[in-house]
């Protein structure tokens, strides 16, 4: 039995090592000096020095989402900790497992308004799955192991541990507690599902004439095996499948049963199929307002089955007929086994009319756009990026806005954990640091941050991090000089009064990149797209490609806020002003 005497900071590191942590994203400061001193003396954990704490936490998110492991962050007290709040909220909304270690002023000074003091457990309570303030070094090791358990068990999420400096300096024993069976008294999420409801689900599936699978980020969180078994199940049933923004990649986009993303900027066929469906099988998805549109007109004819690990997701927005609480992988396997017993699913004629109907919707070619040489259409740029990189098992991150939606529409994801985007919180500036995390988790792989110029500007100090660690991240800026999604809403809903959505004085992105020792490229005409992308991919160093695109292009299809799935707009020709009612105007 190990029982090593060491200080609190060393206990922290030993616990992390015992939990398998190899990478720590962070930024030092006064309160965390003992941790950084302990880091200096060891070689098992590699610290990645970011340039802003928000970068650390998004990098940890990118690391977690691209690897399925827990991302770990270490920042100092006060401003170091508060700079992480956005990232914690982001991880909480998207259910990403993180451990955030924050320094704190010594226990005796807590509450004294000491230098760099912030009540970070108070501040982060609503945006963490759980948080701790460690007030006794005896509880330190147990707390860290418990935090790892909580972050990944059930619905994952961020857990924050606040570490006062005196605790980090105090001597105590490290006991390797994780090697014994620690019991976690009251947090035991339900993972298994009862077989009677599986039978009910399968009989509903067999009776359905217009079924649809609607799969979300929960499938990705459940692990690669969950995507595999769910894909097998969907293939076996022959049902159409739509994915949420968070779920892209959990069912292969190239499969003929995939009918695209659904929701506000989802495909015409996916949204119409949801609207007309008689059976929705929601898997690891949460009926988010971006997905459902107007709730009172949402899928009026459908029976709804909801598979989710979080009981509080059930009936939150939409009342469902059957709920199955548990791990997606286990439930999908149970349904698959039951489906195999039934003969019904071998007869492809059952769904013939439904697929004919879907094929009719697909004829609208809702993602079509007009290609011209100048200016570059943003859709064209992303479509070419996909075509050129599709065989390279790419990892894609994004900022938030039009470019994010175009990336979701035109980049096809065939595997889970390849797509990292801020879904729930919609955090601009997510893309660049998330790409750092994804690259560190997947050395040698091609990681591309498809970013907007405005999103990029929010966290671009991380170019310095990319340069320091020689990370071959590719930054693909879809540059239209506007906060494009804001401009689009102003055009469609505010009479074209473009209030504060234009970015004057953008930097010269090529020179900016070069100043960080990053290769800068630029394309302004469609004829230059392929060459620029091929150069970007070929260069083994970090590259920033400034893709200067049409300033006026809007993102379609679009379900205006407050509208229903079948009120989707296909393009600028569709009248919008009268489709947004007063109720819709107040929605975000």
């Amino acid at each position: 039995m190990t029982n090593i005497k060491c200080n609190g900071a060393e206990i922290v590191l030993k616990s992390l090592i015992d939990q398998g942590t190899k990478i720590l994203f962070g930024y030092p400061g006064g309160a965390t000096l003992p941790i950084y001193d302990a880091l200096f003396k060891q070689k098992r954990i590699k610290h990645i020095l970011v340039r802003h704490e928000q970068g650390a936490i998004h990098a940890a998110e990118g690391f977690a989402r691209s690897s399925g492991k827990i991302g770990v962050v270490c920042v100092t007290s006060g401003p170091g900790a508060t700079n992480c709040v956005t990232g914690l909220a982001d991880a909480y909304m998207d259910s990403i497992p993180l451990i955030c270690l924050t320094g704190q002023v010594p226990t005796k000074l807590i509450g004294n308004d000491a230098f760099q003091e912030a009540d970070i457990t108070g501040i982060t309570r609503p945006v963490t799955k759980h948080n701790y303030l460690v007030k006794n070094v005896k509880n330190l090791e147990k707390t860290i192991h418990e935090a790892f358990y909580i972050a990944q068990m059930g619905r994952p999420g961020p857990v924050l541990i606040d570490l006062p400096k005196d605790i980090l300096n105090e001597q105590y024993y490290y006991k390797s507690l994780n090697k014994r069976n620690l019991s976690y008294p009251n947090y035991k999420p339900q993972l298994q599902v009862d077989s009677s409801s599986i039978k009910k689900v399968v009989s509903l599936m067999a009776d359905s004439k217009k079924p649809i699978f609607y799969c979300g980020g929960g499938v990705i969180n459940s692990g690669k095996n969950a995507s595999d078994i769910l894909t097998k199940l969907i293939k076996k049933t022959g049902f159409p499948c739509t994915n949420t923004l968070m779920g892209l990649g959990c069912f292969p986009a190239l499969d003929k049963q995939f009918i695209g993303m659904l929701g506000m900027h989802g495909t015409y066929e996916a949204n119409l199929a949801m609207h007309d469906s008689d059976l929705i099988i929601a898997v690891g998805s949460r009926f988010d307002d971006r997905v459902t549109g107007n709730l009172s007109k949402f899928s009026p004819y459908a029976k709804k089955i909801h598979i989710d690990i979080d009981p509080s997701s059930i009936n939150k927005n939409v009342k469902v007929d059957i709920s199955l609480i548990g791990d997606v992988e286990k439930i999908a396997r149970a349904i698959y086994l039951e489906v195999q017993k039934s003969n019904f699913f071998n007869n492809s004629n059952n769904l013939k009319n439904w697929w004919l109907q879907i094929a009719n919707w697909q004829k609208k070619n809702c993602l079509g756009y007009k290609k011209v040489n100048y200016p570059i259409k943003p859709q064209h740029a992303i479509e070419r990026l996909y075509e050129i990189t599709k065989n390279k098992d790419c990892f894609i991150t994004t900022g938030v806005g039009q470019h994010q939606m175009w990336a979701a529409q035109y980049y096809k994801f065939n595997k889970p954990n390849r797509w990292m985007t801020s879904g729930g919180l919609g955090t601009m500036g997510y893309g660049l640091p998330a790409a750092i995390g994804a690259q560190i988790a997947n050395p040698g792989k091609l990681v591309i941050d498809i970013d907007g110029e405005a999103s990029f500007l929010m966290t671009m100090q991380e170019l310095s991090t990319i340069s320091q660690y020689k990370l071959p991240v590719k930054i693909f800026i879809v540059n239209n000089r506007w906060m494009g999604m804001v401009r689009q809403w102003q055009e469609l809903m505010h009479g074209g009064r473009y209030s504060e959505s234009y970015t004057a004085s953008l930097p010269n992105f090529v020179k900016l990149a070069e100043s960080f020792n990053i290769v800068g490229l630029k394309a302004t005409k469609s004829s230059e797209i392929d060459g620029a992308i091929k150069d970007m991919v070929k260069i083994k160093k970090p590259v920033l490609l400034d893709m200067v695109v049409d300033q006026k292009e809007n993102c379609f299809p679009m379900i205006p806020s407050g509208a229903a799935h079948n009120e989707i707009l296909l393009g600028p020709e569709d009248e919008t002003e009268d489709k947004v009612n007063e109720e819709g105007m107040v929605l975000v």
């Binding site: 309570r125 799955k129 759980h130 059930g154 008294p185 009251n186 059930i314 009936n315 009342k319």
Partner: protein
């Protein structure tokens, strides 16, 4: 959505008696826009360090279910019981009411207190104070009657109840 009828529910939440547990529970209510009509907290098991929080809230059945499953998801929460939908005792509340004495009202005040089975816990030349444990309706009625007879000040604990089984 059906089940839109708003009803009152008394919910018992057994939590770890540790910092942040109450804040998490209350934060869930304020953060998600649920009402708290009444709240009580006290340690109930010193050995295991458990406290019981009893919250009276109101909402449609869907909202109540949502509240319960969200509470159950909190790490520091052991057990959540919707006392209103289970076989529980009538709800009780303890109140202390102080009344300033006006000339010639002493007997009236004491008679009312006797009728409501309120216990005199303090008496001076200026003030009287009573303790009453009863249903909220009876306590309200008692307070209403005293209010006519003098200036009053009230402290109440909030509702509690317990499962019968």
């Amino acid at each position: 959505m059906s089940d839109q009828k708003i009803t009152k529910h008394t919910i018992s939440v057994l939590v770890n008696d540790e910092p942040g547990a109450l804040a998490r529970v209350i934060g869930l209510f304020s953060g998600r826009g649920y009402n708290i009509d009444s709240l009580t907290v006290a340690p109930v098991n010193l050995e295991q360090k458990h406290s019981r929080i009893i919250i009276v809230t109101s909402g449609s059945q869907i909202i109540i279910d949502q509240i319960i499953s969200s509470l159950e998801g909190l790490i520091q929460v052991h057990k959540v019981i919707d006392l209103t939908s289970k076989n529980s005792t009538d709800e009780r509340e303890l109140a202390m009411i102080k009344i300033s004495l006006k000339k010639g009202k002493l007997n009236d005040i004491k008679n009312i207190a006797k009728k409501y089975k309120a216990k005199l816990i303090f008496e001076s030349l200026k003030n009287l104070a009573f303790e009453i444990t009863d249903s909220p309706d009876n306590i309200n009625a008692f307070i209403f009657k005293l209010n006519i007879l003098g200036k009053i000040d009230v402290s109440r604990t909030g509702l509690i109840a317990i499962l019968k089984d």
